[in-house]
């Protein structure tokens, strides 16, 4: 039973909606810059890909109160865009679900609360911790979207929103929902910035995924959602669906809490699992939106796994994290949106700042924007801490 993609929504360091993101991708304009909104001690050293709107601007855009977590604000912008894009007539009788993902919930507020609280446990504004839980963020957004039938949240580090997307698809396949808004969100926080800083994998310059001399990743923020619908609902919409979610798989690297195995076992299993479900041979994949964080470890593990599965001529590949930074709980959602755009428009986005291809790999990601190409199947990879690896495949409907 096919599951169709009927709507897209995105907000990231390169644009506040899908059209703006697409424009930046076409113009090779990345969003990595010195911090403006995040108040961190590292502001002069570590560039990030912030959404270029303040919390009050986001509050105005969404109609939510300004004191709400930035993660919820970002989530609502993109989820609402996706929902409207799907063009479901109002009052349409169907079971709606919202399956979202994030990595640290309302941490941006909790970390504001914490200094006063740490000094005196009776101090600090409680309204800053009421949305600390990951699920609390999803519920704020679900409420605004009017979704009550089914609301859930997944958190598997950097693969979170890829898992949310395919859990959503499975709700439809198992006849538990008709329409699912699925994806993920994360705002930048001092907590995650400092966490990644202790791992010494943050690049002090704009990152260079899949480059021989890559130095690490840049963190980013944003949200990305797609609207999945059953075949029955797709037939009732006025517009043609944008794509089919034809394959997906989740596997575990089971090698180390943070590091990927040298042969990329988890990534290998996720990609081959997704191919198997889609009933595709590796050579039928036209483009891979790489996880491609820019760390030594990820890129060699992912590259090695790709080398094990695919052969010359390799599919086109690129990491759009060279534009948006690594948006953690949002990246699987954002990159799913980018993958569908690629399929829809016959375009492939460049892997920016790639100067020296990795010497271990027999392929090189795309370095210039490409248009006018016929794409049938696009793969999107999301791999994370704890060995959690997921791959999605979108196909022309």
């Amino acid at each position: 039973m096919p599951v169709f993609v009927a709507g897209l929504g995105a907000i990231s360091g390169i644009g506040n909606n899908v059209a703006e993101c697409l424009h930046s991708l076409q113009e090779s304009r990345h969003g990595i810059a010195p911090m403006v909104y995040l108040q961190s001690e590292h502001r002069n050293r570590l560039p990030v890909a912030e959404v270029k709107l303040s919390n009050s601007e986001l509050a105005q855009l969404t109609g939510l109160p300004v004191h709400i977590s930035r993660t919820a604000l970002l989530s609502l912008v993109a989820a609402k865009e996706a929902f409207l894009d799907a063009g479901l007539p109002s009052g349409f009788p169907c079971r709606k679900a919202f399956v979202s993902a994030n990595s640290v919930g309302g941490m941006d507020k909790t970390e504001n609360f914490f200094p006063a609280f740490a000094a005196n446990h009776e101090a600090g504004h409680l309204r800053e911790v009421i949305h600390h839980e990951c699920g609390a963020i999803s519920e704020i957004v679900a409420k605004e979207l009017g979704v009550t039938d089914f609301v859930s949240t997944i958190s598997t580090a950097c693969s979170s929103s890829a898992n949310a997307i395919f859990y959503g698809a499975r709700l439809i396949k198992n006849d538990l929902a008709d329409v699912v808004i699925a994806g993920g969100c994360d705002s930048l926080t001092k907590f995650t910035l400092n966490g990644f800083n202790t791992l010494m994998i943050l690049d002090e310059n704009p990152c260079q995924p899949f480059d021989e001399n890559r130095r690490g990743l840049n963190l980013g923020e944003g949200a990305g959602y797609i609207v999945l619908v059953s075949e029955k609902i797709a037939g009732m919409l006025h517009r043609m669906p944008k794509a089919v979610l034809s394959g997906y798989a989740n596997a575990n690297d089971a090698y180390h809490q943070t590091a990927s195995s040298p042969d990329g076992t988890g990534s290998f299993l996720a990609m081959t699992g997704a191919l198997k479900m889609a009933g595709l041979h590796p050579e039928e994949i036209d483009y891979i939106n790489l996880h491609g964080t820019g760390t030594q470890n990820n890129d060699i593990a992912e590259g090695t796994a790709i080398q094990r599965i695919f052969s010359n001529p390799y599919p086109l590949m690129s990491s759009t994290k060279s534009f948006t930074g690594h948006t953690l709980g949002a990246c699987g959602g954002l990159e799913a949106v980018f993958s569908v755009l690629s399929l829809q428009h016959g375009i492939v986005f460049p892997n920016l700042r790639l100067e020296t291809p990795m010497k271990e790999l027999p392929f090189t990601p795309v370095t210039r924007f490409k248009s006018g190409i016929s794409l049938q199947h696009v793969m999107s990879n999301s791999f994370g801490f704890g060995g959690n690896c997921s791959s999605l495949i979108f196909s022309k409907s």
Partner: protein, 89 residues
């Protein structure tokens, strides 16, 4: 003597920082490998040790690739500390 004392201190600090179970500072030999087949430390421990050097000895290891050499054993750590403390009094 100074070197011996430094190595003893390091062993205590390593056991504490890495929360090693069932390992007492005295169990670690000066030249025992800390990683892999030795104490079995991994890449996360290497990052913990970098902070240990910073906190206790005010030495900043800028290049993570130096890690394996510096953290080979308690002696190699002590030698690194001695050299770098001399260089930056």
């Amino acid at each position: 003597m100074v070197m011996e004392k430094l190595m003893e201190d390091l062993k205590t600090q390593i056991v504490e920082q890495l929360n090693l179970q069932d390992v007492k500072p005295g169990d670690i030999g000066n030249d025992d490998p800390l990683f892999n087949e030795g104490l079995g430390l991994d890449s996360i421990d290497a990052l913990e040790l970098i902070v240990l050097l910073q906190q206790h000895y005010n030495i900043k290891l800028l290049n993570a690739e130096e890690g394996p050499k510096v953290f080979y054993s308690v002696r190699s750590m002590a030698e690194y500390i001695t050299t770098h403390q001399k260089a930056n009094p």
